[in-house]
Symmetry: C2
Subunit: 326 residues, 2 copies
């Protein structure tokens, strides 16, 4: 497995996207997101997605050179119509006004609609925290999670992310997690390895708990923590799809298929100004961090996960990346 | 077990609170909250709390006749200093301005600080939904949950609630849940019954998973869904304690102890105007509700839980209530 500099990953990814029709902003911002995912060891949201981006630029599932439409229907609310382009471009277009809105109002929403998959949601909330604001994010996905007691795939893995700035800058707490018990990849990996899966991950096509990965793939995932995660997944669904006017997860086509309709996904963010509270917020943040630090084995979410300057990339993935870049 | 009309529960609770020193607003609003909890079968947050309210009115742990201080430091942010009084009184004082702020700005925060325990958080977010807004709520509590891999009690059961209005009024979706795997009461009940507890509920004093309720009571609860629930519990902590300037959970004294410091808890709410999105929000809400309704055994959170007009109350609890009311 070759060790590749993250800056090189970004450069080659950018070239690959540009070669397949992405405009300047799309190539630059999506490459940044891919490189950042790799730098945090998040392979699923890194180079593994690049081929589908390039193929879908060709088939028109994602539009690589549209200009997002930013509006501000209310003082605390910034809306971005991604116009079926990349989520990173739409977010970037709306972020400055959303930051200004949060500083003026204490809290603001940034609702991105009709976007391509945003892949790693934490990429976006981290930017909010780096601007000194608390960032919450929610996005929907293809349908894969069944309700407790049910068997239909109603919502996606519907992740949420939450990033908190430190008193003197940086990101003091960061989480980016699906609301399902596990990612679908864990089931496909168990199947490939010929292993069974633990109870509590999935149900079969009849809604019965299963430990058979094959039956799970014909059935559905379940929510993290059962009914509690189901509630949070639905909350994410209503924020991400409902408040942006994008598709409900049940209507979203498989994300990586070469052909098909636009993803038409929503990403909903809340930006909260901790400064509106004086120093109390940071006092509590640091107090909680200290208590956690005093407990061996425990850590703040996101702590100890620094961005790496170079990462291992599987041979086949790197060869494909270079090929995509021409 | 006598069957008691909820209106009678409210009346007697109000009398009990007034008799123990609660002012008019506190007696009326806390009685409403107690009656509503009972009407939804939520006994833990109903009459079981009344004795501690009355006792603590006497000892000064809660101040029964303070006027909360409402300020609006930013257009989208309403703060209420509960001044160590009841959470219900503080929320009621800030709600009208927070609703107006959400309508004007698209989104607004209502941060209630230095309050007594709010008991059922859903009591508050339901009011937000009944006003036609999406309501999210978070509150902290006494320390009882340890981090994954740790053993210290860092945060409380730290509940969150989320209530969504229907297109034509009412509450279409409602959830109110702790971020811990279970409530502490499930451990104490298992202990009383001489039963073991399932793995995944608690750890012992050394941070090891345990099925022994005794060891769990000397240890800590764990978060729902492990690391994912831990992240959400911390998010609740930072919103509820940090953004309101109230105590971190580690510093909160046992809620029902007769003597001791003020609870000094925080409740943080977000109010989001779905109308700012035109009808799209309700289209998605109804679509998701229909898909769930088509799946036998599945339901929307909060669905099928109508308020009851009369409820069973254990003899001892009702006798105590009547005694408290004199």
């Amino acid at each position: 497995m070759p060790v590749i500099e993250v800056s090189r990953i970004e450069e080659v990814t950018r070239a690959a996207l540009a070669r397949h029709g992405a405009g300047e902003a799309a190539a630059r911002l999506v490459a940044k997101a891919v490189a950042e995912a790799e730098s945090y060891g998040n392979r699923i949201c890194g180079l593994y997605y690049l081929e589908s981006y390039c193929v879908q630029l060709g088939t028109g599932r994602v539009l690589g050179d549209v200009v997002p439409e930013v509006t501000r229907p209310r003082p605390g609310m910034v809306r971005v119509d991604a116009r079926f382009g990349f989520a990173q471009v739409a977010f970037d277009a709306g972020l400055p006004e959303a930051i200004a809105a949060a500083r003026e109002n204490g809290v603001a929403a940034l609702a991105v609609g009709h976007a391509h998959t945003c892949t790693a949601l934490g990429f976006f909330t981290r930017q909010i925290a780096e601007a000194g604001l608390i960032g919450y994010g929610a996005t929907n996905a293809t349908p894969i999670v069944a309700p407790p007691g049910g068997k239909r795939r109603v919502i996606g893995t519907n992740p949420m992310a939450f990033s908190v700035p430190g008193r003197r800058g940086g990101v003091a707490l960061h989480l980016d997690q699906s609301t399902s018990a596990v990612a679908l990849g864990k089931i496909t990996m168990a199947k490939a390895a010929g292993e069974s899966i633990p109870e509590g991950w999935a149900v079969d096509a009849e809604g019965r708990p299963t430990t058979d990965p094959d039956a799970a793939l014909k059935g559905a995932l379940v929510s993290s923590g059962g009914a509690k995660g189901w509630g949070i997944g639905l909350m994410v669904e209503l924020l991400a799809a409902g408040l942006t006017g994008s598709l409900a997860s049940v209507d979203v086509a498989p994300l990586k298929a070469p052909e098909g309709p636009h993803h038409d996904l929503g990403q909903y963010y809340l930006l909260i100004d901790p400064g509106a509270e004086g120093g109390a917020f940071f006092d509590r943040l640091e107090q909680v961090a200290e208590v956690i630090a005093s407990d061996p084995g425990a850590r703040m979410p996101g702590q100890g996960k620094e961005a790496m300057a170079e990462v291992d990339v599987p041979d086949a993935v790197w060869a494909q990346t270079l090929e995509l870049a021409g």
